[in-house]
Symmetry: C2
Subunit: 318 residues, 2 copies
């Protein structure tokens, strides 16, 4: 039996995106077979297409896709958490752009009843990344987080989580048109012009930009503060003032989901699920979706994400 | 009543070191009045003499000295922890090069019976710094720490602490003559030539060098590892590869004792005292002392420390 999938024919522009088929295997061990409903598009998919972000060794090398939603169609003999017909969402190190997937059950979350499968496909990467980044920032109730790219998928998720935790958010964007979205979610908004900014002292920072903001980030942190780096859209090599690191006793921490071991991902998913289910069902947390497109428009969706004009997630449906 | 003290007449070479007097005040509040027996010399004292490390606002600006030992001579009306005649050691943000000091009792530790007052003056800065740095490295039993300047005061303390904790240490030095000291304390030793090194992957790093080692340090860390920076003898501005920080999920953390609030210092001292007293009395931990000199030889002691030939601490006695 065959499964539809997206392949990249080498590295390049959207012309390398190809619709293809692959053979389907039965779910084995703790795997669950999932009929995929929708796939969330990520910056990682774009970087992989350009050849800048190769898949980890244990993931398909030429089939992109890091998160998905769908319905359980088969259950491996050692899988105990889900039954056929269950609505699930999850993360993989690659290969999510398929119409059918076998995934270890530890990487799956149940879709909260309040959410559609389309909304669910926009959830795992951004909410897990935001959840993890906030924990790593060590900022708690009453603290202030500086959140860059606050209108992005991870940004909009982080604002919602911080609101629940009683953490104040100062959210930045480089597009004046996105200021209202950030404020609408309950954060204060700050427009960044010419890649430089000066803000009030903050307890922690969640940043996707990297080198371009490094100096101003270090300056913005209070004594004992933490800069959590979850992306490097503004460059990967930067000069750092170690004397500020010492004098203010700062931490700089890099993190990504994709390269983690299955055990580490499972632990994060477990912690997030325990805390999150109620919030999604009550509507306190909700993925912010920029657009939902049929898979046939994947190339246009790539271009839209690269234009930096989107607010929240882009979701592709089979 | 007058107290002897050392003053720096501006910034410069050892010619700015001057013997002087200051007036003595009665111990007030939670202060304890101490007749100072000995003072440990620190890199911070040298940097302050050169004008590179000004004292914090709440410390004497021109009297150096960060650690001391002595005997309690007076007790403020709100001080409850020590009695007249007690042997104490402690840290201050400056001013320890005095023959009499009023110090908040929270910054004092009782001198373990197994140690002399001279040994005690060599203890607080290096053991507290090492204790704190090991905790911040997140390396625990069975792990491997790369420890730079392992024959230094903090280095020799860190090796002893790690041995107690069951942490393996790979200790570096730039002087082949110091390799034996490092091995004698129970660590493996590695000679660094031309400021560049390549070692096996490590769980954590404690570094005093900074910029000159930054690239090799980042390369040496395992996934999830932490680089703790406690000094910047090799430069304060360095280029950092943020992509390695993300891909390996690394932490870089700067830390110093001197600029911390009294509450933070008190918390560290409390944690260390609880754990450390038994180890000192059993002889598991012992300050490594390079030399003990009369205060009149302070200038020569500065020059000796600057020559980078010392192993362990230099102590000055009144």
């Amino acid at each position: 039996m065959n499964t539809k999938c997206i392949r990249y024919d080498g590295a390049g522009g959207i012309e390398v995106i190809r619709f293809d088929c692959k053979s389907r295997h039965p779910a084995s061990g703790t795997e669950v077979g999932i009929s995929i409903a929708a796939v969330g598009l990520n910056r990682g998919d774009i970087l992989q297409r350009k050849g800048f972000y190769p898949a980890p060794k244990d993931a398909p090398q030429d089939i992109p896709g890091l998160e998905f939603s769908g319905v359980v169609e088969a259950v491996g003999k050692d899988a105990t958490k889900f039954a056929i017909g269950d609505r699930v969402m999850g993360i993989v190190a690659g290969g999510a752009f398929s119409s059918y997937l076998n995934v270890d059950e530890r990487l799956l979350l149940r879709v909260p009843p309040a959410l559609s499968l389309t909304e669910a496909a926009a959830l795992p990467e951004v909410f897990l990344t935001a959840f993890d980044a906030i924990k790593r920032s060590n900022v708690t109730k009453g603290g202030l987080i500086l959140l860059h790219a606050a209108a992005s998928g991870v940004g909009t998720a982080a604002i919602q989580l911080c609101k629940t935790y009683g953490i104040e958010v100062l959210g930045t964007t480089r597009s004046s048109s996105k200021l209202k979205t950030i404020e609408g979610l309950g954060a204060r908004a700050h427009l960044i012009v010419d890649n430089t900014f000066q803000v009030q002292p903050v307890d922690g920072i969640i940043d996707f930009i990297g080198a371009a903001y490094l100096k101003d980030n270090i300056r913005a942190l209070k004594v004992g503060g933490t800069l959590v780096l979850v992306g490097l859209l503004g460059g990967a090599r930067g000069e750092i003032s170690l004397s500020h690191l010492l004098a203010k006793r700062l931490k700089v921490e890099g993190t990504v989901l994709r390269s983690r071991s299955i055990e580490e991902k499972a632990e994060l998913i477990r912690a997030f699920s325990t805390e999150g289910e109620g919030y999604f069902n009550r509507g306190d947390w909700k993925p912010v979706i920029h657009g939902v497109y049929p898979m046939s428009e994947l190339g246009a969706a790539h271009e839209e994400m690269e234009s930096n004009t989107t607010v929240g997630k882009i979701v592709l449906c089979w």
